[in-house]
Symmetry: C3
Subunit: 349 residues, 3 copies
Amino acid sequence: MADPRFFDNHGPLTLAAIVKLTGAEVGLDTGAEAHDVAPLENAGPRQLAFCDNPKMKNALSRTGASIVVATRELIDAAPEGVARLVSDRPSLAFAKIAGALYPGASLTWPMGKPPLLPVDPSARIGAGSTLALGVQIGADVEIGRDCVIGAGAVIGRGVQIGHGAFIGPHVSISHALIGDRVFIHAGSRIGQDGFGYVGSPSGHFKIPQLGRVIIQDGVEIGANCCIDRGALADTVIGEGTKIDNLVQIGHNTRVGRHCILVSEVGLSGSIELGDFVVLGGQVGVADHVKIGTGAQVAAKAGVTGNLPGGQVYGGFPAKPVGQWRREMGALSLFAKGKLRRNVSSSGKN
Amino acid sequence: MADPRFFDNHGPLTLAAIVKLTGAEVGLDTGAEAHDVAPLENAGPRQLAFCDNPKMKNALSRTGASIVVATRELIDAAPEGVARLVSDRPSLAFAKIAGALYPGASLTWPMGKPPLLPVDPSARIGAGSTLALGVQIGADVEIGRDCVIGAGAVIGRGVQIGHGAFIGPHVSISHALIGDRVFIHAGSRIGQDGFGYVGSPSGHFKIPQLGRVIIQDGVEIGANCCIDRGALADTVIGEGTKIDNLVQIGHNTRVGRHCILVSEVGLSGSIELGDFVVLGGQVGVADHVKIGTGAQVAAKAGVTGNLPGGQVYGGFPAKPVGQWRREMGALSLFAKGKLRRNVSSSGKN
Amino acid sequence: MADPRFFDNHGPLTLAAIVKLTGAEVGLDTGAEAHDVAPLENAGPRQLAFCDNPKMKNALSRTGASIVVATRELIDAAPEGVARLVSDRPSLAFAKIAGALYPGASLTWPMGKPPLLPVDPSARIGAGSTLALGVQIGADVEIGRDCVIGAGAVIGRGVQIGHGAFIGPHVSISHALIGDRVFIHAGSRIGQDGFGYVGSPSGHFKIPQLGRVIIQDGVEIGANCCIDRGALADTVIGEGTKIDNLVQIGHNTRVGRHCILVSEVGLSGSIELGDFVVLGGQVGVADHVKIGTGAQVAAKAGVTGNLPGGQVYGGFPAKPVGQWRREMGALSLFAKGKLRRNVSSSGKN
């Protein structure tokens, strides 16, 4: 699954190696080796997937993975002929396996081999593009025509940038494919690790983040924003979307086309925004939420559930803005009424 | 209007060129050419202004601009002898004209000519000032005496910094005039494009940001803040104001003297704060709001309308803090009362 | 008090010098000189402390300081034999004295002597550690084995980093001691000045920030975060704690072990979090608040008072999450009920 432009695969891992790494128990040994990891739904031959949730049982029964790690309760749902590992903590086992396959996943260069030149000789820079001083460009980077790369920007290995892009000073980009006419202002961070851990008795265990960031044509991103790359999937910013300063976008989140995200918006992981969605300043959106095309959310709202498109929302939890305003108005009247009532009852005493 | 220290004017544009660029229709051709753009109120000879709002009709009738772009309904309010262009979307036409006059407005150097030396020979650095390694200083920069410029800081062309300033590592500054004894901590972004677009059927069209950031004496700005430059006017931070980390200040906003802005405050555009205003952490303020001198706003409040000075506010929408507390208290009591009522009514059944 | 690895002491100050600096009046001259500053509780010989609050009177009476600055009302509580200075504004006097003792406290090098080499010859870098291009490493820095220091990272004088750390591109670190296996992602700011001022008629007077940041083993910090160093004490991030992007942590705050701080959390100063505390996205916590071990706070909550451990909280002000949900539900019902009542009463008219 992991894009070899960005990640070095150190596999394969034998079942024996996996057992040693994770403490899992072999349920069925087919001689398969894990060359890669993938979600149950997308996994193919030579890939390992995991299942720790009864809701995923159906996906487990249809997976194309060659190896599955699951709890004892779920393991029998695996398709015939698939190698089986039983674990009390399949998600923790999966994180450890992914970490062993991609031990340098947080790096933007092959492990132990940081770039020695400001612009790697394998990078291709298009005609008319200018690099400011202090720019660092990794191996196999491709930058199109008429781009401006600002002072001190760091572009990690394998990153692709289209034509006419503006990359501001001190921007860092890794694990990303970026379209034409994209603006990224100073200090924004594109493609670093998502925030993913598995709890364990000895603390939070890091899940290697093996996806990418895809930024489509005409996107503008303000200063000091953070867009994390996906865990196994990609984080996507749709064509023409405009993002203000200090905005956070978590792993696997997909923002539609021509959206507006005002300053200090926080999107957690695996969110889906439709097209032309507008989020006011400081709006927060909980993970896995879907917001439909054309929805507008007033500043400071907190979106905790799916919102159909084409309407205006506000408040926390976010609701249709008229309802939210009525609630605020009712509360204001109630607080005043209550005070009057206290006065009159003390008058009666 | 645009300060030539920061912006290269590629004008003038003839009416014919503007028609070609914008699709506008000529209402009156005086032979005028657009050398610059300006708001209706401030525009002078050889400048172009636009009007797309009946509320601006009075300003249109008194503008000193040589060319105006307006809707068919409004165009006749233009003063006699002023060249007239009729457009269905005057704001979009204006953005396109501004973009043609200043095509490199997002850059901190003349288009196609990035600096080749870490410190441009035309820059003047005062006695006793020290530059850390990796600093980049553009053309015509002026830095006063006894300043410290931290590692990797990038100071764009024409920026002025007074005496005794501290600029932290990785700070980027452009399009800005900065006073004496100003502290700017690591990673803050001063002077980049404001967040301004005109909607159009093909998406959001960028409005070139042609103003500046003015930071007066004794201001302190925390780490990873963002202060955008003005669109046509300036963004101003008044003398002695102290700003914590991760604060956002939008274009054209004017912060008074000796204000305190606690971490993660978000100010959108065209706000006016008086002097000695205190905004608690995570406060958000909507655009065009005025907050009076000495007003204090409790953490997390959302300010959606003007607030008179000298009082303490809280909540969202922000209101006098006593009222907000009564509402919160009333809600808490009401929720408890409602539960008791449910119990007794179920007892009656 | 101030760690000499990070701060250069320019003392001592005689009583006469302090009087000249602050306008304080000598109550008792013992010939003592101020070699350092400290809080009343921790101050020892040759150190100066201040008292401006009747609640601190007991601490004043037991202080080990050699010099105290206090108001006329409080000064007599000082222990016998301690030099006494009387001031109307002891906290302002203290800030001025601290500033005179440590005039370059915001710098990461001795005043006037910025580093001249990318890696100071006195720095020690462990085996297997790799430095990317553009890294700057100050005097007396110690970096352990198998660390990765990303492009353009700036590590200030005296900073210690353990084994197996990952420091992302454009990170700046100063005044900090960092453990093993710590990840700090791109653009985070560790150790800069806290946000501390004393009000005065001529504006806000900066309190020199003389503490450190301590980051224990296994901590992960996201991109573009800010962790300020302590004022006189330390800011501490406990072992195994995971911090998402764009998080603010103020001076003197102590985060426990294995906590989770989701994106855009804002912690002000002198907060204490127990272990395994979880704070959702955009949560804000007021200064001096204590949150107990295992407490979880839902996204966007505002914590204004202490929260016992082991429970889930939400809302603003934060309260047990069930109570908060009941209040939100009651408000929603009430707003609808009120509307119905309006309808029926208009029906009666």
